[in-house]
């Protein structure tokens, strides 16, 4: 990958990046969950593909969003590893 750099042995900035990445990834699901009942009831009037919109967002939306977050995390974290030279030798 083009972002690869020679190894630098300072784990601290690496960990700062990783920690930020973790917070960003977990923030949305953890914030979304407590508001889920509110979303489900407020948006139950409208429909999407036949589903009540609130139900669709809470069920399909949460799962699709979760898949997106984890796959984004895998790619991002791999970039972070390579940027800091802390990646595995393949």
């Amino acid at each position: 990958m083009s972002t690869s750099r020679p190894p630098r042995h300072h784990p601290r900035p690496y960990w700062r990046n990783t920690r930020l990445q973790m917070f960003v990834c977990l923030l949305m699901p953890c914030v979304a969950l407590p508001f889920m009942p509110h979303i489900i009831t407020k948006l139950s009037g409208r429909t999407f593909l036949g589903f009540p919109l609130g139900y669709f967002l809470a069920m399909h939306g949460f799962i699709i969003f979760g898949c997106f977050v984890v796959s984004w995390f895998v790619r991002r974290q791999n970039r972070i590893d390579r940027w800091h030279g802390t990646h595995e030798e393949m």
Binding site: M36, P37, P52, Y55, N78, T86, H87, M90
Partner: protein, 619 residues
């Protein structure tokens, strides 16, 4: 680019390049068997034979794969040689984290209480997301064979390992008992076994499957079982979806049935009740009536109860040692992250299918059963009444959705029959559930046995007297745990779904705070970890036991299925307070944590084993 035609010596970390072909053949054979049985059924072959073949053959074939994966190296026995590709690992994680109890219990709950059951789905799904980001890559870098072994090395204290093993065995064991009960009950009802139980044969079969190769046998038999479970869930759901909506994607197509369903429910007198926000009672295992319209949000589970239940399950799934030890089987940290992405995707697919099955079942109940005179009820339903799987309220003037009571755990199997599909498809669904039960219970059995033999003895220490008997000891532990679990499953007639939810609460409260802090907070030390484990576990267990004994409304009106609500904060507070009051971890431990956080370099556990071996004097 063409591969250079050079000989490459076999490296132990190399993934078998033909795995995809083998499992494609297996999946094709399963699909072929299904079609073959549908044909045989139409030709009039006896039903009992078809049933036996469909349930036993795929499960037995996967068991043979497990037995064939015999291995004698500790690396193979405890970590499957660390060469399981990400997709297979993800598939196994997705299916075993739910197990048969999750598949049947969640579908049944959707059917009985409607969309409120979403909190269970969201919890299971969120748990894998949480584990993927917080725990799995780091545990893979560490590479310990069991979670207590990891904790013991991370905190430099054998006591932490022993306490963690004792505390974590309990939730895994509860889940194991639930899986054995639900699987054996299902096979018993399908094969019309009149007396006795199939729990003992099931436990013995699982032990025989996983004992030859430990984690390696577990991985490949579970990959096959999980594949069956996935296919057997998706095929009937897709066929029914085509029949009802002309679209093959059940996950998205059932929306078009919802408005019609709501009208019918309203006409049959199903109403949304106003309930307390904290109320959450999981439906009973016995045949019970539909209590809430499908889109009657928060008429069965309260709003706060919904959120708390989702959080409890999420934390429990993330801390389940069964899933976390699977992290160690991937070839590297990057692969372990990728395997979590696969797991999240496949679990999402499964979880989106379950409400579709429940909606199809409700819709078909209205069109096939409701309003019919009792003498014109379909034959399969009469058979269910006779076997006690379903009940009908004879006092009621006419048949409605509420008067035909189905068992919660039978909805997934009833759906193909409701849609008028060939009986062979019911057996396909059943074989999937049996496969999920076998996968779920074998994974938990191996986890417990490894925790027992590795962490409660000193067999894993190079040079100790027991170390020569490391694998025989682990295999003996498998037998003991299998026997004890079978005995408990026979004695203890608790609802499996309740057992699973309790088990997740216990795992989340006792394991998660310490596991997360051991990676993300360098300051946590051995006394803090001990306090976190014991307090989290103690508070949750007390909550569950007092609720079960007193049969009351639970602490502060919160049902004991959500006991982690008390356990997790208690565990976090205990771990943080005690850590801050005692001396900080030494330089060596801090270096270990720093090493664990970086993906590059050798797996910590493997490096330490290699160094210990080379340091040992040669006799």
């Amino acid at each position: 680019m063409a591969m250079p035609n050079t000989f490459r010596p076999f490296s132990p970390r190399q993934i078998n390049p033909r795995l995809g072909i083998y499992f494609s053949i297996f999946a094709a054979a399963f699909a072929g068997l299904t079609l073959f049985l549908v044909i045989l059924e139409q030709l009039g072959y006896p039903d009992s034979w078809l049933r036996l073949v469909m349930i036993i053959a795929p499960a037995a074939f996967a068991a043979v794969i497990g037995i064939a994966s015999i291995s004698s190296a500790p690396d193979d026995y405890f970590a499957s040689g660390r060469r399981v590709p990400a997709a297979f690992n993800g598939l196994i994680m997705a299916v075993t984290s739910l197990g048969a109890t999750g598949l049947l219990g969640i579908t049944g709950t959707y059917y009985l209480v409607g969309a409120d059951a979403m909190c269970l789905s969201v919890g299971f799904f969120g748990g894998l997301v949480l584990a993927a980001i917080l725990l799995v890559p780091y545990l893979r870098k560490f590479g310990a064979y069991t979670i207590p072994s990891y904790l013991s090395r991370r905190f430099g204290s054998r006591l932490v390992g022993i306490v963690a093993a004792v505390v974590l065995i309990v939730p895994v064991f509860l889940f194991l008992v639930a899986e054995l009960r639900i699987g054996a009950a299902l096979v018993k009802s399908l094969l019309n076994v009149k007396r006795g139980s199939l729990i003992w044969p099931a436990a013995i079969a699982i032990c025989i499957t996983v004992a030859p190769g430990g984690m390696r046998s577990l991985t490949w038999s579970n990959a096959a079982w999980s594949l069956i479970a996935l296919i057997a869930l998706l095929i009937p759901a897709s066929i029914v979806s085509i029949v009802l909506t002309n679209l093959p994607f059940a996950q998205l197509s059932y929306g078009s049935l919802l408005s019609g369903l709501a009208d019918k429910e309203l006409a049959s007198g199903l109403e949304v009740h106003r309930i307390l926000p904290l109320k959450l009672e999981l439906p009973d295992v016995n045949a019970s009536a539909v209590s809430n319209p499908f889109a009657g949000y928060f008429g069965a589970f309260g709003r706060i109860g919904y959120v708390l239940m989702a959080f409890c399950i999420m934390l429990g799934v993330a801390a389940m040692p069964t899933m976390l030890t699977r992290a160690g089987t991937t070839p590297g940290v990057y692969e372990s992250r990728k395997s979590m992405a696969w797991a999240v995707f496949l679990l999402g697919l499964i979880l989106l299918t379950l409400p579709a099955v429940a909606v199809f079942a409700r819709h078909l109940m209205f069109s096939e059963v409701v309003g019919k005179p009792p003498e014109r009820l379909p034959e399969w339903l009469l058979a269910l009444f006779q076997s006690g799987q379903a009940r009908i309220d004879m006092q009621a003037p006419k048949i409605t959705l509420q008067t035909v009571m189905l068992r919660r755990d039978s909805i997934l199997l009833v759906m193909p029959a409701l849609a008028g599909l060939p009986t062979a498809l019911t057996y396909v669904a059943a074989s999937g559930i049996v496969a999920a039960a076998l996968a779920g219970s074998s994974a938990r059995l191996v986890t417990i046995a490894n925790m027992l033999s590795e962490d409660l003895t000193n067999a894993n220490q190079t040079g100790s007297k027991l170390s020569t008997y490391r694998l025989p000891l682990a295999r003996a532990a498998l037998g003991i745990v299998g026997g004890f679990a079978a005995w408990m499953a026979l004695q203890w007639t608790v609802d499996p779904l309740r057992l699973v939810v309790w088990s997740l609460s216990l795992a989340g409260a006792s394991g998660l705070p310490v596991l997360v802090m051991s990676i993300w907070w360098k300051r946590i030390n051995a006394p803090g970890a001990l306090a976190g484990l014991i307090v989290g576990f103690g508070v949750t267990l007390t909550c569950i036991v007092t609720d079960a004994v007193l049969d009351g409304p639970g602490w502060f009106g919160i049902d004991s299925t959500m006991a982690a609500v008390f356990g997790v904060p208690a565990g976090v507070i205990a771990a943080v307070t005690v850590s801050l009051l005692t001396p900080a971890p030494d330089r060596e431990t801090r270096a270990l944590v720093r090493d664990m956080r970086i993906p590059g370099g050798e797996t910590i556990h493997d490096r330490e084993t290699r160094l210990a071996r080379s340091a040992r004097p040669i006799h």
